[in-house]
């Protein structure tokens, strides 16, 4: 098959391009989900909290972010913020740091909204009686949350968080808009010099699949581990 032959030749000649792209995509997805999880936890806590203004604010944020394209959010963060004199720091020994920072920041803000809903539904899926039992023993609300509810919620949350990571790996291709050399961007670079489109995209698709498949296997493995621990 000539198609597969050309795929092979493209991959072997441009493996450094693709490798760089895979690395950058993984870096961005990892930090986006990590920071997104922190933000999402905060949002979920605010949204489930008793204080109405912050509850409303968290809901509004989540709805807005989930209801607008990531592309536009990214453009506003990277090009809009500097117009308000808010810039991302440069780090001399990491090339393109401010770009990565902006890309990760935007992806985190976006992912945070989705993670907030994952966490909220994960917590709400834990039987109310668990928290009530803890409160009835004299535990404070936050103690009940940390000791009893969250450890159980994590078992609901982790698989969904794994899916989110897979989603972010795929969606991160959008950061190429601000010049981060992720896998999609590097693939376009390969196309631009080889003039061979479908075969290059096929190589990228395989690489994306490997990333997402390995990720979901790892998550499934972690899930089994946790199940063994707590039943």
């Amino acid at each position: 098959m000539e198609f597969f032959d050309r795929m092979g030749r493209i991959f072997s000649r441009y493996s450094s391009f693709f490798g760089q792209g895979v690395a950058n995509t993984l870096i961005i997805a990892f930090f986006a989900v990590l920071l997104g999880t922190l933000l999402g936890t905060l949002l979920a806590v605010l949204k489930m909290g008793k204080f109405k203004p912050t509850r409303w604010l968290a809901s509004a944020y989540i709805e807005f972010i989930r209801g607008t394209p990531l592309m536009i959010q990214l453009m506003f963060i990277f090009y809009g913020l500097p117009m308000l004199n808010i810039t991302f720091p440069e780090v001399s020994f990491i090339p393109n740091f401010e770009r990565f920072a902006a890309g990760i920041f935007a992806m985190s803000l976006n992912s945070g909204a989705y993670v907030a809903e994952i966490i909220r539904s994960g917590i709400q899926a834990v039987d109310k009686g668990q928290a009530e039992a803890a409160r009835s023993l004299g535990f404070k609300e936050n103690q009940a949350l940390v000791m009893v509810v969250l450890p159980q919620a994590i078992k609901n949350i982790l698989p969904a968080l794994g899916n989110e990571f897979v989603t972010v790996i795929k969606e991160s291709s959008i950061v190429s808009v601000i010049g981060i050399a992720d896998l999609m961007y590097q693939t376009n670079s390969v196309i631009s010099v080889t003039f061979i489109t479908l075969e290059s995209l096929a190589v990228a698709a395989i690489l994306y699949f490997i990333m997402t498949f390995v990720t979901s296997r790892l998550i499934a493995f972690a899930e089994r581990k946790m199940a063994n621990g707590t039943r």
Binding site: S16, P95, N96, V177, G179, S189, I191, F195, T197
Partner: protein, 302 residues
């Protein structure tokens, strides 16, 4: 002939660097390196190219130029995915004739060149938010864009080519033969303007990138696409389904050209850029850089 010229100019560099106060950059192994190689994004200058530093630009001053000199680097925004104008070589260096031109401008300012690689659509926003000083990315002079930013003088007019499905090359030879049919071009490019001007009876079909456009033609969805000559060569060489139509654009193609993009109200920088463009187009060094970039991009096929 071009080799000779390039060697000659490399030789001239040695004493011409005086214009930058001596301490500046890399004069040593100038000869032999490709004129198209430019600085990597980090700002590390790896481009002892056939420079035109023999020209003295020290008389150009102003607010914008002073600011660039103060920070010691010229930040150029581009999308390195458009060979032979801007692309990456196998070592991920930014190369291409636009990058060569960027280096000339940086040299004229006696500063380092820093290339910022980004999506084409992001370059003008980046200029407006002062993240880059200039955009050089095979930009076409365009009245709509001129409301947002300034254009330099035109530095390049490539031959425009109509690509069609292999076998159709003798079908579509006149604008009448294309009447009522869809002809594609990259959105907002010189080619899309050209289609509107030269093929008024055809329907313009725009997409963001030429790879998808080429597939549209190969699959027979649209009659043809108009691309830069260098892109046409690369596509034909690597895609059996494509061929050059026996079609020649008339004078409509003459008024279109590529220019650098600058922020508005930076006339001092614009004058300097225009002076550089005037010099490198007049002495043939830009053409030499273009030819070498074409050769380099051809060597990168599989």
């Amino acid at each position: 002939m071009k080799k000779v010229l390039s060697l000659l100019m490399a030789g001239m560099m040695a004493f011409s660097l005086a214009a930058c106060g001596g301490a500046s950059s890399t004069a040593s192994s100038a000869a032999g390196s490709t004129p198209a190689s430019a600085a990597a994004s980090g700002g590390a200058s790896s481009a002892p190219a056939a420079s035109t530093a023999s020209y003295d630009y020290s008389s150009y001053t102003g607010e914008t130029i002073d600011a660039i000199k103060a920070k010691g680097k010229l930040v150029v925004g581009t999308e390195a995915q458009y060979a032979p104008f801007e692309f990456k070589d196998l070592d991920s260096n930014f190369v291409g004739c636009d990058m060569w031109l960027a280096q000339q401008i940086a040299d004229a300012l006696c500063v380092e060149l820093e290339v910022m690689d980004m999506a084409f659509d992001g370059i003008i926003p980046a200029i407006k938010s002062n993240q880059v000083d200039i955009g050089i990315a095979a930009f076409t002079v365009d009245e709509e864009r001129a409301k947002e930013i300034d254009f330099s003088d035109v530095y390049q007019k490539d031959q425009q080519v109509l690509l069609v499905k292999a076998g159709d090359e003798d079908t579509y030879t006149t604008k009448e033969s294309l009447a009522g049919l869809q002809v594609g071009a990259q959105r907002g490019t010189v080619q899309s303007k050209l289609i509107q001007a030269a093929l008024p009876d055809s329907e313009l079909f725009e997409l963001d990138k030429w790879p998808a456009l080429a597939l549209e033609v190969i699959n027979g969805n649209i009659a043809g696409i108009v691309v830069d000559g260098a892109v046409a060569d690369g596509l034909i060489q690597n895609n059996e389904g494509l061929a050059k139509a026996n079609f020649v654009f008339g004078e409509e193609a003459d008024n279109l050209g590529k220019a650098a993009v600058l922020p508005q109200s930076s006339d001092d920088l614009k004058e300097l850029v225009n002076a550089v463009i005037a010099n490198v187009t007049a002495d043939g060094s830009f053409e030499a850089a273009y030819d070498e970039a074409v050769a380099l991009s051809k060597s990168m096929g599989i």
